[in-house]
């Protein structure tokens, strides 16, 4: 007997993600899913973010890694609510992990929740977490050919942060090729070039975040 199903494979995850998103929006919280390769600078960017926005927005952070609480420990030093999810081998976060984590996170009065996903340019692109927006952190040391090799994560991001621009003089990185390829995959994306080491461009990232929060809260 043949039975039609015609259901998205990730339907269950999508339903939980919608539930998470509704719950966060009802509490007035805007949520960003921050993705990127291991070592691209996601946690360093978050350190600049919590320091730079402390007088403007109340933040909470969820950290995702296979093992250790190293990243959550770094953020804890800034005095914002943070929780570490360890997947123990899983290569991405999913909506059910976020739903569980929210139960242990102090969210009263929070404006912006940033979820730092597991370092990975492939799998996080597939799994919604209940976020309002996604941003991908990409470092110039990864090479300008990566967007074409890993298009889905760039296609599904509202912003791409191009980190480590302080190292440009020491590499043969082609910034024009990178921006052309990213724009061809996703014409609407905001590309923000910066350096977490020197602080150059961090203001542009903070401005973009604040504008996103303002827009979403309306």
């Amino acid at each position: 007997m043949e039975i039609p199903v015609k259901t998205n494979i990730l339907d269950k995850n999508a339903k939980i993600a919608n539930r998470v998103n509704r719950r966060l929006r009802e509490s007035g919280i805007v949520t960003l899913n921050l993705m990127g390769s291991p070592g691209s600078g996601k946690t360093s960017l978050l350190e600049h973010t919590v320091a730079g926005l402390k007088d403007k927005l109340k933040l909470a952070i969820i950290e995702g890694d296979l093992f250790t609480s190293k990243d959550a420990d770094r953020i804890k030093a800034y005095g914002v609510p943070v929780i570490q999810i360890n997947t123990s081998g899983g290569c991405h976060l999913d909506a059910s992990m976020i739903e569980l984590a929210l139960a242990d996170l102090e969210l009263h009065g929070v404006d912006l929740l940033i979820i730092e996903n597991v370092g990975n340019l492939v799998c996080p692109a597939e799994f919604e977490l209940g976020e309002d927006d996604r941003a991908t952190v990409f470092s110039i040391t990864e090479g300008e050919d990566k967007p074409l090799k890993y298009p889905l994560i760039f296609k599904r991001s509202a912003a791409v942060v191009v980190n480590k621009i302080d190292l440009l003089p020491h590499t043969s990185f082609n910034m024009m090729a990178l921006t052309n390829d990213i724009n061809a995959i996703n014409p609407a994306v905001q590309i923000i070039a910066l350096s977490c080491s020197t602080g150059e461009g961090i203001g542009d990232w903070l401005d973009w975040l604040c504008k996103q929060v303002q827009r979403k809260k309306k």
Binding site: E2, T7, I9, G90, E126, L148, A184
Partner: protein, 114 residues
């Protein structure tokens, strides 16, 4: 590897559907996977074979149709296949293109025995 999570989601959906129709065994599963969905067929089959052992879907044939990546240009209205990640209209070179297909991840139907 995320194909394991996808295989697990396929199995959940398939077993729920079988149970809802009082079927004891699943013999065939038809999937539709988009070319741009970022899923390796080989990895998915490997994971699926592993996790269905001991379940009513053990030994089920996994059939995978691949949906091509098709675009529609919002500027000139052309529809065209998209052979690479760069989405550019071949008629007018516009970047403003809607992707009509190629990102699907769906269980289309299952075949069961009572």
């Amino acid at each position: 590897m995320h194909e394991m999570a996808i295989a697990a989601s396929v199995l959940d959906l398939v077993l729920e559907t079988a149970a809802a129709n009082q079927a004891n065994r699943v013999i065939k599963i038809q999937l539709l996977i988009g070319e741009m969905a970022g899923v390796s067929q080989e990895a998915l089959r490997f994971c699926f074979d592993n996790i269905t052992e001991g379940t009513p879907a053990a030994g089920a044939v996994l059939c995978i149709d691949i949906a091509p990546v098709l675009g529609h240009c919002c500027e000139c209205g052309s529809e065209f296949p998209i052979p690479e990640p760069r989405v550019i209209c071949p008629t007018c070179s516009s970047l403003v293109v809607d992707v009509l297909s190629g990102q699907e991840l769906r269980v289309e139907q299952i075949e069961v025995e009572d």
